[in-house]
């Protein structure tokens, strides 16, 4: 038995290590590439770190990479943060309130409204991109934060998640609050929000990464370089006409662009897991 277990333990670890290597390799490559000169990266991809790391990151951060087609990273990062936070906060507020309406209020066609929200799951931005663009451009919101954020703000997924959570809140809690004198808004603020804390944290992580990774939409509505986001800016910089892409600088930018979502995950991991597995009783 003992030998059997050992053998299986080895096998399991081998599989896990193999998977980790596959997942980590691209990031490793990016890290290595960001420490070399462009010549070294293009001629023969080195497998170990070089000595250019400091120079590369300084160049990228100081905006010195503009001449090789990479927009200033600082501005792009700022734009990305604004967009991702805007989408996250917007989605959370809209879906918290939408779910609250659907669960706690009796109004005509309540179920119809819920299902109408639900079927928008089938209509992500990519599907409705033409009409959405038309609306945003007619409203004069091209090249603006509101144009980046507003069309992505409604979320059926988050609404559904919060609805499921609200349904687990016993009716008596609402009734007790009514007798205590709390109206609907007060109940939402004093009870629903604190109770949804862990769920909100979990949704925050998911939605922040969703917002951060937006590519197609920013590509469409921003033409001014000062409104570029990191993810789309990167793509732009690989497609310079008549020039060699500066992969070392692109990789530095990519790694910088990776940092905020990683930080969000690292710092919110405990709340995130709690929000997904635990319901506060």
């Amino acid at each position: 038995m003992v030998r059997n277990v050992t053998w299986r333990t080895w096998l399991m670890h081998a599989v896990l290590i193999f998977g980790t290597v596959i997942l980590a390799f691209p990031i490793y490559t990016a890290l290595v590439a960001s420490t070399h000169t462009v010549r070294a990266v293009i001629t023969e991809m080195p497998l170990w770190f070089g000595s250019q790391a400091w120079e590369n990151y300084i160049t990228v951060l100081s905006g010195g990479a503009s001449e090789v087609g990479i927009p200033p990273v600082g501005i792009m990062m700022f734009n990305s943060v604004v967009m991702a936070l805007g989408i996250t906060v917007g989605k959370l507020s809209v879906s918290l309130l939408a779910a609250y309406a659907v669960v706690f209020f009796r109004f005509p066609l309540r179920r119809v409204f819920f299902w109408m929200i639900f079927i928008t799951l089938m209509l992500p931005v990519e599907v409705r991109i033409m009409p959405t663009f038309e609306v945003v451009s007619d409203l004069g919101m091209l090249n603006s934060y509101s144009g980046l954020i507003l069309p992505l703000i409604a979320s059926a997924t988050a609404t559904f998640l919060f609805r499921q959570f609200y349904l687990t809140i016993p009716d008596e809690l609402f009734e007790a609050a009514r007798i205590d004198g709390a109206g609907p808004l007060r109940f939402f603020w004093d009870h629903i929000l604190p109770l949804s804390r862990t769920n909100m944290a979990a949704m925050f992580v998911i939605l922040f990464i969703y917002g951060w990774n937006q590519y197609l939409w920013p590509l469409l509505v921003t033409s001014d370089e000062s409104m570029y986001t990191v993810v789309m800016g990167l793509q732009r910089s690989t497609a310079m006409p008549d020039a060699i892409p500066h992969w070392n600088l692109i990789m530095s930018t990519a790694l910088l662009g990776l940092l905020p979502p990683v930080l969000v995950v690292v710092f919110m991991q405990r709340l995130f897991v709690k929000g997904l597995v635990e319901t506060e009783k």
Partner: protein, 364 residues
């Protein structure tokens, strides 16, 4: 402190009427218990008084003010729920203070009232805890404390002890009674447990399928049940109900045993009710005893007394339960003669199931 009055109160869900016209006046300071089996409408009535359910028709007034259209918060009542309904994210202190905070009571005043209630309920050292760190009995106390600090016109209780274990329930029952004696406030208490109803209520309202079966003091309910339903519902083990047929001025039941009655009976069939404790295995002193023969089917010793399940002889195949002193020696499958005094029995109309009053009976 307030009188609560219900006039012809009805409640329907769609086409289904669940409360069929209830009239009731609860005087200021009374402890009234609404009791009945599940689905009898007792909770619905309480929730209508609280304002959590709308009233389909009729009028509810609290302190001579009609409250039909008032929000719960404007009725100045407090309610204790079966599952306590404590706010899980708030400490005990915050739970009790919440109702006052919403009403804009001054902070220092809230502090005094919560601490006073906490001392009363023995919660002083738990004020900083969250409800999930409390036992069931403590949570129940917090729920009561939340009602107490508000000092409302009336307290409403919706089966508050049902989630507690038997021992704690007895203890809390006593505390509730003492609380009422001290506050002298109007209490309306819903339960399905007849022991709670009998011990707590100054008056009891027995409900069945949305109809009022009887309203009265525990003594009236127990000793003069208005119907076979009340007779069977109140008291444990419940009252024995036997069928009897009227033959001239005699009533025959359990085969050939008989009674003689004086007065007019409404029909040819009657129901005869006898409480288990009024049956005995031998005559005690002189008295007007009836007797029936029965076969002992099952014995349940409870310690303080013994419950004996018997099957009546004489082809009627009726069961009868008696409660006797534990020293009584009786064996299963033995045939026994059961005695009861004629003046302890209750007569009911077999058709309407209502009590028949004013008919004297004696053993015959």
């Amino acid at each position: 402190m307030a009188e609560i009055k219900l006039e012809e109160v009805r409640k329907s869900y769609g086409p289904a009427e669940v409360v069929h016209g209830v009239d009731l006046t609860i005087p200021d300071g009374e402890f009234l218990v609404l009791v009945g089996p599940s689905g009898c409408g007792k909770s619905t009535i309480l929730r209508m008084i609280a304002g959590l359910e709308t009233v389909t028709s009729g009028r509810i007034s609290i302190d001579r003010r009609i409250v039909n259209r008032l929000e719960p918060k404007d009725r100045d009542i407090a309610m204790v729920f079966q599952n306590y309904a404590l706010y899980p994210h708030m400490s005990v202190y915050q739970n009790m203070a919440y109702g006052l905070k919403v009403r804009g009571v001054h902070k220092a005043d809230i502090h005094n009232r919560v601490n006073e209630a906490a001392v009363t309920l023995g919660l002083g050292e738990y004020l900083d805890r969250k409800p999930r760190a409390l036992s069931g009995g403590q949570r129940q106390r917090v729920a009561m404390g939340r009602a107490l600090v508000r000092n409302p016109k009336a307290f409403l209780f919706d089966e508050p002890l049902s989630n507690l274990d038997a021992k704690l329930r007895n203890q809390m029952r006593v505390e509730l009674k003492q609380l009422h004696a001290r506050l002298k406030n109007t209490f309306v208490y819903v339960t399905h447990d007849q022991v709670e109803a009998m011990t707590l209520g100054q008056r009891i309202m027995v409900l069945r399928d949305g109809n009022v079966e009887q309203v009265g003091t525990p003594d009236e309910i127990y000793n003069q049940p208005a119907s076979t339903f009340v007779a069977g519902f109140i008291g444990a083990p419940s009252m024995n109900i036997l069928s009897g047929s009227v033959d001239g001025d005699a009533i025959r039941f359990a085969g050939k045993a008989g009674l003689v009655h004086a007065g007019s009976l409404p029909g040819r069939e009657v129901k005869i009710g006898v409480r288990p404790e009024h049956l005995c295995l031998r005559k005690e002193g002189e008295g007007d005893y009836c007797q029936v023969r029965a076969k002992v089917a099952l014995i349940e010793p409870l310690g303080g007394d013994t419950v004996v399940h018997c099957r009546l002889n004489g082809g009627s195949d009726e069961n009868i339960i008696i409660r006797v002193h534990p020293d009584e020696k009786v064996g299963e499958n033995e045939t026994a003669i059961l005695y009861f005094k004629a003046d302890t029995l209750h007569l009911f109309d077999a058709e309407t199931q209502r009590r028949i009053n004013g008919v004297q009976v004696c053993a015959g």
